[in-house]
Amino acid sequence: MSVLLAFAAAFLFATGTWMLLQRRLSRILIGVGLVGHGSNILLLMSGGDGGVSPIIDTADPSEFADPLPQALVLTSIVITFGVTAFLLALGFRSWRITHDDVVEDDVEDRFIARRHETDQAIAEEELAERDQAVEEGRR
């Protein structure tokens, strides 16, 4: 555990975040990769200071680097690889549909936002009708 490695992890997280906030899937993917590397450094650091390879009979076990985080990092790397492959396929599909890899805004959400802007609520029609009834009732 050292300040340098903590900094490296933090830096990877920061650049990764920057990339995640982009609109392009390819940049987002790179962001995912960077953030993933950052978390792997943290995981590796969680075993304390490094040491020699944890292979029995090659060195004194007290000098071993903590093997468990290594196994965990390996698992995490492999999983990230699989998911990245899938995301690539998604990007590929997106390219085949739109010839681009922009992650568009959700249309339905945008629709609601616009409706809000133009102030036309769904219930408006029903309400107008009831309004009329009130006026009649008040007469």
Binding site: L74, A85, F92, R96, E108, F111
Partner: protein, 179 residues
């Protein structure tokens, strides 16, 4: 190994095709040795750096080389089995290794080992980790084969409006055109 039938290089210039031939020849040497290396990683993994993942990934590296020299077709024809069988059999193998001890009344994935006495190697110790690791290996290979199948083909069809229509899942599914 099959010749690169529809590799992009075959349509290239003479110099380029010679260069490819060079790569092709070197592949003939490299490829088997990489596979041996992969085998080593797989078998030695329990005691030295390596293991099923590394073994599988090294095979993946070899496949990448084949892709460079022969294109997607070369990757496809590398193995006799279709890639999904690698995945299926790999998982079946690992999962069975995990499951068999339960059937025998033990815990899931319980460790077991036996020692064979073979003529040449004298004592060979086989642990239950081996079939498990082989399953891992198969899945990694399957994944890489599948990945090349998915992305490896040269530009499929000219990009255009027809592209999406031609392989859109079906007209049956509603395309939810939103406002």
């Amino acid at each position: 190994m099959s010749e690169p039938s529809n590799a992009p290089a075959s349509h290239g210039t003479l110099a380029r095709s010679r260069r490819m031939m060079l790569l092709d020849t070197s592949m003939k040497v490299l490829y088997p040795s990489i596979l041996v290396l992969a085998m080593y990683f797989l078998l030695a993994g329990h005691n030295r750096p390596g293991g099923g993942f590394v073994g599988g990934l090294v095979v993946g590296g070899a496949l990448a080389l084949r892709y460079v020299s022969g294109g997607a077709q070369a990757v496809r024809s590398t193995f006799r089995l279709p890639p999904h069988l690698f995945l299926g059999l790999g998982l079946l193998m690992s999962a069975s290794t995990a499951f068999v001890p339960v059937v025998l009344g033990g815990s899931i994935l319980e460790h077991g080992d036996t020692t064979f006495h073979l003529p040449i190697f004298d004592k060979v110790k086989v642990t239950s980790a081996l079939p498990f690791d082989i399953g891992v290996d198969l899945i990694v290979i399957g994944l890489i084969l599948m990945a090349f199948a998915a992305f490896g083909e040269d530009v499929p069809d000219a990009p255009g409006a027809a592209d999406d229509g031609s392989d859109a899942p079906s007209p049956a599914l509603k395309i939810r055109s939103k406002p």
